[in-house]
């Protein structure tokens, strides 16, 4: 446990010694603010209730670009710099390494989302704040991004250049999204079509976002996200273990 925690702490610290954290944070706060401002302006003009969960849904869409930036460095850079060898000749297991690194991305995600709480507070003070929608929206945003991060950890584990890792992660997430978009055009009446349709929909990390933003909190999507995360982290552990194969 202390080993995983030490790995987690080091990994989290790396985000804050490089300019990356501050660039992402500044950029995101600007975009979050714009989305929020645009949302409130529209709501006022149309005299409609302002749905904060829609802001959260928009933010979750942005994570397609942010998640690869967070994860691309993790394992690719260890390989690139050769520190993977120093790391794995210490008495640490592959699982501890993957968990420590993944935990650091989650902590960094929480750090990125923290400033948006200011928006929620503002709405609570000057408008009507739908707590159930917002809480479910946050959970949906968090879980969706957490699964994107797990995909990113996996891609970083198979790459030895962080730029490649970032681009490939982005491409994979984008393809998953696009195919989900086109899945509706697949003819679901044939057996093959139905199977393809359900597989594509299953692999869409955003499939449950709509339910969350409507305030629906169900255990099924949570279990789905958790299994997606476990699946990709498991794959990453296996990739790191590859060098032990004879």
């Amino acid at each position: 446990m202390s080993t995983t925690f030490a790995l987690f702490r080091r990994e989290l610290a790396v985000y804050f010694v490089s300019p990356m954290a501050y660039i992402i944070l500044t950029g995101l706060m600007f975009i979050f603010g714009s989305i929020f401002w645009d949302g409130t302006r529209n709501a006022t003009r149309m005299n409609a209730p302002f749905a904060y969960s829609e802001v959260l849904a928009a933010i979750s869409g942005l994570m397609v670009f942010i998640a690869p930036l967070i994860t691309m460095r993790l394992l690719a850079e260890e390989r690139n710099r050769g520190t993977f060898e120093t790391l794995m000749t210490a008495p640490v297991t592959e699982l501890q390494v993957v968990l420590g690194k993944y935990a650091a991305t989650i902590a960094f995600l929480i750090f990125l989302l923290l400033p948006t709480i200011a928006h929620a507070i503002l709405i609570g003070k000057y408008g009507t704040f739908d707590a159930s929608e917002s809480v479910a929206g946050y959970i949906g945003l968090f879980m969706t991004t957490a699964s994107l991060l797990a995909i990113g950890v996996f891609v970083s584990s198979i790459c030895s250049s962080q730029v490649t890792a970032g681009v490939v992660t982005f491409a994979i997430i984008f393809i998953l999204l696009l195919s989900a978009n086109y899945a509706q055009h697949i003819d679901g009446s044939t057996k093959l079509g139905a199977a393809a349709k359900s597989v594509i929909e299953l692999l869409n990390p955003y499939r449950n976002m709509g339910d969350f933003t409507r305030g629906i909190l169900d255990t099924r999507p949570i279990v789905y996200f958790l299994s997606l995360i476990v699946f990709f982290l498991f794959l990453s552990v296996r990739v790191l273990e590859l060098r032990r194969w004879k």
């Binding site: 610290a13 520190t83 993977f84 004879k246």
Partner: protein, 325 residues
């Protein structure tokens, strides 16, 4: 301390290690010597538990490097080739992190880090960022990292590569001190390094163990079988006189800076040598030196690892055929 049996490592298309066996006992400082690509790093990676062998086995401190990899890694301190470090961390912070993941108990961690800093002469730079340090200091950080958890065995892959003479001298001093209480394995392709630091040398070439012995032994074995006679000043007819001695088969004369060397091929050098000395004093040659012709360690190394020719088996040079690879 370390038992290596029939170790073989193949990568697709190449054999990095081919049936290597040796054992190292406690307290030895062992030098792995060989040209680049000979299999030194592969051996060290296997011993430090980073990669498994293809066939064969290795045990370190009684633990198998594959089955009990974690136990092995607890007991080994390893400096990989090229000394990879987390360059964004501060020196003491880095060592603290490494001590933590190497299971140094929290109560002892600060003392362990301080001790490693002290041994490697890093006290003054403890709060500097690793990436801002000179190469010599970075190398010291790598060595400090390898000893911070007080390991029984220290494995250093090319610890002095790319350093200037002063830095090399300091790293050597650190390694010699380590060798007084621990088993140390280091690899290098610089021979003088082995002479200065090691009490045992394993020469490895193209994946095979070629020679095993002390640096002095290897030097002694690296004789050519010829007698070398160095003479200074004007001497006439030396060559002819030498050739007349019974048992002498061939004499080669080499002139260098006014001095002359004669390389004498004889059936039995130990019988011919006293005879040469007698002749020399009778004829009044100004003899500087006489003795069996020795290869310098550099030449021995070249002979042992020459990639073009067969590998001479100097260990069993007594009539047995060599083992060309």
């Amino acid at each position: 301390m370390i038992e290596v049996r029939n170790l073989t490592k193949t990568y697709p298309g190449t054999t990095a290690l081919n049936d290597v066996s040796f054992s190292i006992s406690k307290g030895q400082v062992v030098g792995f010597l060989g040209p680049n690509g000979a299999g030194k790093s592969t051996t060290m990676r296997i011993l430090s538990g980073f990669i498994p062998p293809t066939t064969g086995s290795a045990t370190v401190a009684g633990f198998d490097v594959v089955r009990d990899s974690l136990e092995v890694r607890r007991r080994v301190g390893y400096l990989p080739e090229n000394n990879p470090l987390y360059t964004e961390m501060r020196v003491a912070e880095y060592l603290w992190f490494r001590a933590t993941i190497r299971k140094v108990p929290r109560a002892r961690r600060a003392a362990s880090v301080d001790s490693a800093l002290g041994r490697c002469g890093l006290v003054d730079v403890r709060d500097r960022i690793v990436g801002h340090l000179s190469k010599g200091f970075r190398q010291r950080v790598g060595v400090a990292d390898a000893i911070v958890h007080d390991p029984e065995i220290v494995i250093l892959d090319e610890p002095t590569i790319g350093l200037d003479p002063n830095q090399i001298r300091h790293i050597r001093k650190v390694i010699r001190e380590l060798g007084q209480e621990r088993t140390v394995i280091l690899s290098t392709h610089i021979l003088s390094e082995v002479e200065k630091m090691c009490n045992r040398v394993l020469i490895i070439n193209r994946g095979k163990l070629v020679t095993d012995g002390t640096p002095a032994e290897i030097l002694k074995r690296a004789t050519t079988g010829r007698i070398r006679l160095d003479i200074t000043g004007e001497s006439v007819g030396v060559r002819e006189a030498l050739q007349r001695i019974s048992g002498v088969e061939n004499v080669v004369e080499v002139e260098q800076d006014g001095d002359r060397s004669y390389l004498i091929q004889a059936k039995d050098a130990s019988k011919v040598m006293p005879e040469i000395i007698r002749r020399a004093s009778e004829a009044g040659w100004n003899v500087l030196e006489i003795g069996p012709e020795r290869l310098s360690l550099e030449d021995a190394f070249f002979e042992l690892t020459d990639r073009t020719g067969p590998v001479p088996d100097l260990l069993h040079a007594t009539g047995e055929p060599g083992s060309p690879t």
